[in-house]
């Protein structure tokens, strides 16, 4: 029996700090846990087949032990970190791995992971980069192929009802997360950015049904809070993978509140629901290709349209400043970063650009920059 603390947020924190323990426990009980990278992997297929989807994470603050012997140093450090943990045995409890080809690093790590880790099951999902009508048709076929490959692995098939049930569970999860994010709109927010990060990461490591139960308890707990305003600046964080609290906690320790995000590990992974009215797989293809605002998918249009959803966040969450967080060697983010920055600035927001090597974030140097940044916001407010 897992040793967990009483409160729901404490439980999330425990899951966050003891990542993988619950999944390992389930694996020990005979459940098959399938690891995946990136928010483009439709976890619904795993849930429908009674597999436990587990989002593979890296280890911020953990220097690489073995990965450098196998991965070039110019490769995405987040991916290198995930692989290093896998090489060190951290993910030995996984029965398989699913990696979507979303960016160059994801594409290349698939063969490398397979070669060194030899997982019992592995699958690469080709995700189109375009969003033409034909791209969705193609992606639906790719997802059918993914479903069949999982079915072969477990030796049984998933019916339409199984898929619809799984979609229902994951949509419920998304709705609960959005509800939780609503509680960040208030001034002051009812839950901090640091706490939210722990909740999100915890959720990636447990079955969706368990996460839904936990989220219901968390929402009830958070709603009961009655904080008084302390005038902290309200920030939006935009970027890719943030599966550790280090950066956000630093920002909050410096005196601001992170109240909204556009991150692969945050809102981007749950903002849109799956609509299965026209069939489960077609709904999944539409949602995963069309409903995730990642720079690795091309969307037509120029700057105001492309990033207008960020404008909505800024308005609805009363944002006063933005952090743009890019992982080094990530071409897709770095090609968008100046435009995102320009767009946010056009809304009158100060923007702080943080380029990170993910593995060892330069927290000391950032602290100085963040403090100066918060002063800029303050000065802007006083003007």
């Amino acid at each position: 029996m897992t040793n967990v603390a009483e409160g729901a947020l404490d439980r999330a924190r425990w899951l966050y700090e003891n990542r993988g323990l619950r999944a390992k426990e389930l694996a020990a009980q005979g459940k098959q846990v399938v690891g995946y990278l990136c928010c483009y992997t439709p976890a619904e297929f795993m849930t429908a087949l009674d597999l436990v989807p587990y989002r593979i994470q890296g280890g911020v603050g953990k220097p690489l032990k073995q990965a450098d012997q196998h991965l070039e140093t110019i490769m995405c450090p987040y991916v290198r970190s995930c692989f290093d943990l896998a090489m060190g045995g951290e993910y030995d409890f996984l029965s398989g791995v699913v990696i979507p080809h979303t960016c160059d690093a994801m594409h290349r790590i698939y063969d490398i992971w397979k070669y060194h880790m030899k997982p019992p099951y592995s699958h690469c999902i080709t995700v189109p980069h375009m969003t033409h009508r034909a791209s969705f048709e193609y992606f639906q076929k790719e997802l059918e192929d993914f479903q069949h490959s999982l079915e072969r692995f477990v030796g049984r098939s998933a019916s339409e009802e199984d898929l619809v049930r799984a979609i229902g569970l994951h949509n419920r999860c998304r709705a609960l997360l959005r509800e939780l994010y609503e509680l960040r709109k208030q001034e002051p927010p009812l839950i901090s950015g640091t706490e939210i990060t722990r909740v999100l990461v915890a959720g990636m490591t447990i079955p969706v049904q368990e996460f839904n139960d936990l989220l219901e308890d968390i929402i009830a707990e958070v709603r009961g809070r009655k904080p008084s305003s302390d005038g902290r600046h309200r920030l939006l964080v935009v970027g890719s993978e943030v599966d550790d609290v280090a950066m956000i906690r630093l920002v909050e320790d410096c005196g601001a509140s992170v109240v909204m995000d556009d991150l692969c590990t945050g809102s981007r992974s749950f903002w849109e629901d799956v609509d299965h009215a026209k069939g489960a797989v077609s709904g999944l293809a539409a949602r995963y290709l069309g409903g995730i605002t990642c720079p690795c998918t091309y969307r037509e249009g120029k700057v105001p349209e492309r990033f207008s959803y960020l404008g909505d966040y800024v308005r609805d969450w009363s944002i006063q400043g933005a952090l743009l967080y890019a992982i080094r060697y990530c071409d897709t983010y770095q090609l968008d970063a100046p435009e995102i920055k320009g767009y946010l600035e056009s809304l009158g927001l100060p923007v702080l650009y943080l380029e990170d090597d993910y593995i060892m974030p330069p927290l000391g140097q950032w602290k100085t920059r963040i403090e100066a940044f918060l002063e800029t916001i303050e000065a802007g407010k006083e003007e």
């Binding site: 980069h129 193609y138 790719e142 770095q334 968008d336």
Partner: protein, 439 residues
Amino acid sequence: MAQEAKEKTSSRKSTESAGKIRTVVKRMYQQAQQAKEEKRKVAYCMVMCNYEEILEAMDIVQVYTENYAGLCAVKRQAEPYMEKARAEGYSDLLCGYAQVGIGFDALRHELGEMPPDAPDGGMPEPDMLLGCSMGCDPRWKWFQALGRYKDTPIYNIDVLMPPSDADMEAIKEHSVRYMAEELRGLIAFLEEQTGTKMDYDRLMAIVRQVEETRWWWREAYELRRAIPCPMSTQDHFVLFVPHHMMLTDSFTLDFYKGLYQELKERVDNGIGVIDDEKYRLLWGVGLPPWHTMSILDYFLNFGAVFAAETAYMVPESFEIPPDVTDPVQLIAERAFERNSALQWRGQQAGGVPPLAQAHLERIEDFSIDGVVMHITRSCRASTMGQILVRNVIREHYPKMPVMFMESDIVDLGTYSEAETKNRIDTFMEMVGAYKGSAG
């Protein structure tokens, strides 16, 4: 001054064909500029997007931005453009070609005219931007980023690379259908931009010519199996230019026929790159160090010739099926066949990753004694997976020496001549020992 730099940095070529390329490239940019003046439509393009024939059939002038960035690097004139890109907020870790290209267009936008001293007169202002997802992410995101500097219409297409372990039979139908739809979408876009309709008969004729061109290039390439090797990688790194940048030109067909004749003659007469060829090397994956191509010549001092490479590979052979009459369908099928060939052969070989498979095949076919790979700091696509390739090579050839050279396609700041030469010295010692023990 520029002349001096050029003499120092370019590499030694062994064929007459290679000697023609410099003029060809110059002419290519001149013609593009002239076409622009004549109000013909000019498109910024990326190599290997499978749309070359379509553009030609619609009389669109193709300008390859990656090649232009490479040209700036060869002439050591990339720096101001990279600096401009960085001033515009782009990371210095971004793809080097993209840095140069974005910097060039940002500068032109700021000046309101062609940047002065742009190599070969510069790239003409495009009427459309046509990227694709073949090979890497920057090859379509870069054009999206140019939206900051121009309102030029953009059309990006997917050209997919099946996963290494995909069941090719299972995915073929929908993959080919998607490719064909992507091409049809592009054709509709081009028809709208040009106001003219695609002539499918003309397209078919162009496809046939292109396959003939490729056949000759492949035949010529195969001649490099000969000992001594009639032509080296130094030549290959300019000889690929007509294929990648002027594929549909009738000049290109004649050019590769000419290359074939030239190499055939050399082989028949036993003429190699050097008189005493001791070792044969493979230039493995990794784009070339354009800023200092002369470093490849350093290997010649040891009697080592680069007999093959896996960069800018000659396309796989492809027979045009007699029953396919729709050229778009044909291009789509061809793209799938080519983009899945290494995966398929890797699967047949017991699960060899495709990138490694390409190396193993060349090691065998071209009697290779050692492999050099170039860790190209700013090109993730051609660098990631090099260590995996080395590991697989070791499995098959436990003692085969593999060397990693480190620098960049463009950025000189990453390159140390002394250190590179040291590494080559050590590597060549190992190649000598390996060959000695094998022989």
